[in-house]
Symmetry: C2
Subunit: 269 residues, 2 copies
DNA sequence: AGATTTGTATCGAAGAACGATACAGACGTA
DNA sequence: TACGTCTGTATCGTTCTTCGATACAAATCT
């Protein structure tokens, strides 16, 4: 399971915004404590939390206490260390159910999944990354379970490229410059110029495709969802197996349906 | 979509713990601000946030500002009001990937789903409620998309009853007493004594069943997952359609597999 | 057994958060 | 049009909260 988790591309680090008269430090620190759990792979002790959050052990102590009594933290197995608490999932629910895109997209994507019979994902665009809102599986076969909040790179995924296609070239270049162009598979395109060409293709076609660039043996079609202001909010992403499909077949069958779905969603926003 | 969301059973309200010398108030307030979005159905203005969080508008202003620059809040559509921000999903990921139960259960449940070909859920036990960690769909048909963080009642779901069966009678009674025994369908059992009988059945069988008590037309088998200390951590939940199955058939085919899966998970904890 | 961890508890000084107050723009209404 | 009320934003002095030092017991490692 752990092996399926990639490093998050460019997570905006806790930027405390020094000298901001409106900034509430203690509030920020509580979140810094919770953020200490990003990227770690097990329970954290008080001192570890303090170090990662960049605060004193005493401060950590009191904040951890506060978070614990509220359910945002809990003790780890065998009462060793701390883990993020289930209370956080309440906020997950708030984010998802209040998100206008998720609200509109859900029924449409349920329908889409019923017709395409392949894996359908919805991801949300957040500055420089794509965050998974949910995945609707299909078929028996599953690569792995995707967890909400997992984020995928923009440069080598179908959804990501579809989003880039909706942005002006200058922002595309900027995002690519800020991305770590890691080769996740032998097929991953890491040359910025080639990526930009792919993006231009996507711009013409109205959808983007990827063949095994992020996941071995996966074909995917991605279509961007635009907000009222014309800016990309997220992307639909349909993925299938290269064992069953050629890229061309997949595109021919899937892409029109995705575009239709995307328009249905965009129009209802 | 909204119509699929039930009121959360007994969410532990923000209990500020007055006169706790270790309590960091500003930290608690930040979370109170985020919690203001529970149960609402749209963007919240500054004053609404203040009211719901029980703080002054000025305090709300600064905390909202702090949360906004950190990505925990964002402006709503058309720049009206505020919504919970995507940054929260990073913490969702932390909760899920660091949860020992989720870690162990994921591969087992992927396998389980492959063999049963029905919907498989994992939910986590949190004091008086069951919170969804994830759902693995199967088949074409889907009732609706379940969102992470959604919680279901304990008293009338298969997973819930399985958990009750793992608790001593006194705690069962206590939890039932604290639950709102709402009839979600005409089939919902709301009589505490009858529920306790069901729980005793589940205790004998090693699994619990439910027929259309929470969702019309759904059969479900639930099996509890025990921690090392013998206390319930969560539940596996397999659901099918009454249009395809009788309760007996479903149980006969599904229950043994669920129990096996549960034991595989418990043993690896 | 000794040396570090762990989590917990207490306290006074320093400083940050509180809440009052003020202002401009958007919105709806008369 | 002019009004009132909402929105979000900005500034400031006093108070009360948070900070970080210090201390202690229990568990864990060496």
């Amino acid at each position: 399971m752990r092996s399926t988790l990639r490093a998050d591309p460019a997570v905006p680090l806790e930027a405390p915004a020094e000298n901001d008269p409106l900034y509430v430090r203690a509030a920020g620190r509580a979140l810094a404590v919770l953020s200490a759990f990003h990227h770690v792979d097990g329970p954290l002790s008080l001192s570890e939390i303090a170090k990662r959050a960049g605060i004193d052990r005493s401060a950590a102590q009191r904040i951890v206490h506060t978070l614990k009594v509220s359910g945002y933290l809990r003790r780890g197995p065998n009462n060793r260390g701390y883990l993020p608490g289930l209370r956080l999932l309440d906020h997950t629910l708030d984010v998802l159910r209040l998100d206008p895109l998720v609200q509109r997209a859900t029924p449409v994507l349920l329908e889409l999944r019923k017709t395409v019979r392949e894996r359908v994902d919805l991801s949300l665009f957040d500055e420089t990354r794509l965050v998974y809102a949910f995945r609707m599986q299909s078929k028996r076969e599953t690569f792995y379970a995707t967890l909400v909040g997992q984020s995928v790179p923009i440069f080598c995924t179908a959804g990501g490229r579809a989003i880039l296609a909706a942005l002006p070239d200058e922002r595309v270049v900027d995002i690519l410059r800020r991305s770590e162009l890691t080769a996740y598979t032998p097929n991953t395109i890491t040359n910025p110029d080639t990526i930009i060409e792919q993006v231009r293709d996507a711009r013409r076609n109205g959808f983007a495709t990827v063949r095994g660039e992020f996941l071995q043996g996966e074909v995917a079609v991605g279509v961007c969802i635009l907000g009222r202001d014309g800016l990309p909010l997220g992307a639909i992403h349909v993925g299938g197996s290269l064992a069953e499909w050629s890229l061309e077949e997949f595109v021919e069958k899937i892409a029109p349906l995705c575009i239709e779905a995307s328009q249905a969603i965009s129009n209802s926003l």
